[in-house]
Symmetry: C2
Subunit: 446 residues, 2 copies
Amino acid sequence: MRPDAASPLLTDLYQLTMLQTYFDQGMNETAAFEFFVRKLPAGRNFLVAAGLEQALDFLEALRFSTEELDWLAGCGRFGRRFVDALADLRFTGTVEAMAEGTVFFPDEPILRVVAPLREAQLAETRLINLLQFETLAASKAARVRLAAGDRLLVDFGLRRAHGAEAGLLSARASYLAGFDGSSNVLAGMRWGIPLYGTMAHSYIQAHDSELAAFEHFARSQPQATTLLIDTYDTEAAAAALLPLARRLAAEGSPVQAVRLDSGDLGEHARKVRAILDAGGAAGVRIFASGNLDEYAVARLVAEGAPIDGFGVGTRMNTSADAPYLDCAYKLQEYAGVARRKRSEGKATWPGRKQVFRRLDAAGRLAGDTLTLETDTAPGVPLLQSVMRAGRRLAPAPPLAAVRDHARRQLAALPDDLRRLDAAPPYAVEVAAPLRELARQVDARRH
Amino acid sequence: MRPDAASPLLTDLYQLTMLQTYFDQGMNETAAFEFFVRKLPAGRNFLVAAGLEQALDFLEALRFSTEELDWLAGCGRFGRRFVDALADLRFTGTVEAMAEGTVFFPDEPILRVVAPLREAQLAETRLINLLQFETLAASKAARVRLAAGDRLLVDFGLRRAHGAEAGLLSARASYLAGFDGSSNVLAGMRWGIPLYGTMAHSYIQAHDSELAAFEHFARSQPQATTLLIDTYDTEAAAAALLPLARRLAAEGSPVQAVRLDSGDLGEHARKVRAILDAGGAAGVRIFASGNLDEYAVARLVAEGAPIDGFGVGTRMNTSADAPYLDCAYKLQEYAGVARRKRSEGKATWPGRKQVFRRLDAAGRLAGDTLTLETDTAPGVPLLQSVMRAGRRLAPAPPLAAVRDHARRQLAALPDDLRRLDAAPPYAVEVAAPLRELARQVDARRH
């Protein structure tokens, strides 16, 4: 059986009932859908686009298996002719998108699908599922990176991520957005993400002696020895490990770091730093973890805590203060006619759109223009063709290149937007031609 | 390539570096680990156990593929002899657990693994990943069920769940905890969960006429016609569909429901109900969706909104007000000796434990006792053997049976615990033998 994530049945029922209706009505003209975020979560100043590569993988592989078709035919909701037609369904459309790692703002599409209506509609659920989560995780991770400066940042969140795919994709998204690596071994194997790890409290507890546990680990992992010192008494452990640290250093395999995982991390770090420095272990770094997020990291950095690196898990991977985005994948055009939803509080800008971004003399973001694809505006267009006739136009860029792009994007943020609390909104101007199209669409009757 | 979720490399690096050390030291005595929640999220009064079946599936299938072993051997961190030994690793241990759907409280283990140290340690990351998320989703869904009374409840959250597996597992967890069904087609195929769906705004927009869109859908889905009426003007659409509704009713395929998805849902529901009733469509039910959770549902129910069913998505699937649990999988015993972590604020109860639950004369929960497995206490023991020598003792119960169990558990909640805000904590007594063991463990030196 193939992985769940590859099944087109990983979708909302209404996609299939709508498709049956479109099939019965012979409706399959070209549709343009765009994915965008309606508004920023509270306290956020920008988002970081992510998930495009997984979205394109999904579109390239979209097809129903025999088992799935048989199930649909037997479930009592769909006609045989329709199910037979699904057997031939492939994604044959075009995709324009912002590059992964690009900073973006509300109402700006980060992906547009232009395809026969049924293909474009069927893709909705999974495209949202991928783009919203990876963007959510990348955007949260970018804030942690801004808070941490150039200190080491490692994703520790697999265990409390929401299932297997969330663990994998948030490892990828956080690396893309500036983390240095992850504890997630499969993410390392899959994408070459650098792996980091220490030891669990259970490891210390399984030994009768904490010091024996430290030495055993150092013997087995001489190239990456980080010792967890808070299982019983943090400062006592720091003092107790000094003779071992000196011995290992003399043997050429020095202890690299100690990890703190509980209590007041800043206070423990200061005491442990003093103990290590006084004991001839100034080269041993301090790594901290436990309930961290951008706010906690910023506080520790601000108070000058001597911490060299952070393991950030749960609150980053779940984007705990904003665990979802107010986002949508909306029909903007069908059969050559622009469309717009007008539901209260949910009206959208119609038509196929482009985002132009201006930079100031220092290379910082200076304002975006949202306008029609056929219009122009000052600055650089952010949406680029990435797929045509259902095939990628180029291989997926290496994740390292995506990460470099994200780093440059974060470096180009104006100071205001780098703050962890809400700044005045970044200027996204809606151009006159787009406003005029919206007026025309509203004037049509339904 | 096999699904990501089945890979033992979907784990934290430290599990493997610890295993290498255990291998080098010849440490593989019997270990007992327990999974429990340290404290309830703010405003919560209970949790609902879920994820056991996926956890057991994982343990039964645990093994490394040749590709994974080759990667491990080549990554520079592990010795060849150790990697060769991993090829033979299977889970051979025992599992005791609370049945899925059981209500539980902080410090109460819902699952215990007793196995050779390396097997029990390696399983940690994925066991937490499954148990915490499914329990999180089931616990949130149970609150929505308590708020909704016996109104129809449908999971609509796949698109904003955190990836594919979160969408699937939250469909399962919400059904288990009392939802009536899901929009998630793959969850329907996999577990027989009843499927519900309506239509998207894009479907209405793709038509030039809203009324034509309604009629086309009714023709294609006569057995399940729910019409989305808020794309342009909710009340106007309700009035406009009356002739169609009468015609379809006369033909024997009546419109089943209309869906509201924006604005003040209670206010729209009252107006639409009046329009439908006055127009001879009293049999058409009203279904509401859009940013719902237990609080919104409770408000709509309290104000007497004429809503027959709710689609609840994002905030349930992401458990938005509490997107993670303070939970752990902790070593409680190794090589016959009880163990305990004492890190600040994170001390745990040592040893293998059992939870006994007392009921009052009306069958309501009247107090739990947390004690040693070898001890007894008044009431019924909640942890039962489910796996021995790495094999399930019985096939997984049908999901419908699990759902029945959860329904009875929710019905047995005291009134206080049924509230959506924080009630005085439920009584979980820590018995004297367990307190004495903790004292003895603390008296040992490390």
